[in-house]
Amino acid sequence: MAHETHAAHGAVEHAHPGPKTYTIIGVFLAIITLVEVWVYNVEAVRPYLVLILLPLSAVKFATVVGAYMHLRFDHPIFTAIFGFGLLVAASVITALMFLFGQYPLPHHAG
């Protein structure tokens, strides 16, 4: 029984990356942060700041959760548990912002 359980886990869990991969991921995250700060300082893209920064932030978030927190390599039940919490949080933020008229996307006056 224990052997079967171990085998079942082995079917969905994979080996974690090594230090070299972690370092490359760290450099990638640092580059995205640099791009975010650079975009923030470019006056021409200010109206589209949200549209540019939110996807970049989402990429960083997903990279840390997937690679550093090993969610990509762990059992899918952990993804489901964490995903549920994340979904509730995102829903609360979105619902409250629209409810109180704080639209996150650019809109034109008049």
């Binding site: 974690h16 230090p19 995250l29 949200v50 952990f78 919490g85």
Partner: protein, 175 residues
């Protein structure tokens, strides 16, 4: 741990939502754009990102039975956490001197509540990491206990991803 992190997600979700709703409803200043020093906070964001890298290197070290390396990386992670907290303390002090307090306006109340709770999470993480280093020095943390480091790592990375969101939503999109 994943269940706790999911619940903490909802906790920070409500704090972020409250900040986003109230940040532009203050009757008087200081307001977000005139308060934040983005280049300074960018350095803090880099420090926390770097601490995530050192944390995952500590986990890789203990999984390979390299206890000395693990202690170095865990110590570096705790140190970077302290640097972040020091930066936050300096930032809060500067804001206070500029007139932004917890009770000054809605922006101040929601900003200090959100970032203060995040800072508290970082402080708890630093104590957790320090206790792991202490356990390792006493010879109570070996390759077989790598799960203890992995769980502490999950908490630390979570603190990092919350800052990723706060940095973007609070500092880079202030209006």
């Amino acid at each position: 741990m994943w269940a706790f992190l999911a619940s903490d997600c909802m906790f920070f979700g409500t704090l972020i939502a409250t900040y986003m709703v109230y940040k532009n409803r203050s009757l008087d200043g200081p307001l977000p754009r005139e308060t934040f020093d983005v280049p300074y906070t960018s350095v803090s964001a880099f420090v926390l990102l770097l601490s995530s890298l050192t944390m995952v290197l500590a986990l890789a070290a203990i999984q390979h039975g390299q206890e000395r390396k693990m202690r170095i990386w865990l110590g570096a992670t705790a140190l970077l956490g302290c640097v972040f907290l020091g930066g936050q303390f300096y930032e809060f002090t500067t804001f206070y001197q500029d007139g932004l307090t917890l009770s000054r306006n809605l922006f101040g109340s929601t900003f200090f509540t959100l970032t203060g709770f995040h800072g508290t999470h970082v402080a708890i993480g630093v104590f957790w990491l320090a206790s792991l280093v202490a356990q390792s020095f006493r010879g109570r943390l070996h390759q077989g206990h790598s799960l203890l480091v992995e769980i502490a790592g999950l908490y630390w990375h979570f603190v990092d991803i919350v800052w990723i969101l706060i940095f973007t939503l609070v500092y880079l999109i202030p209006d």
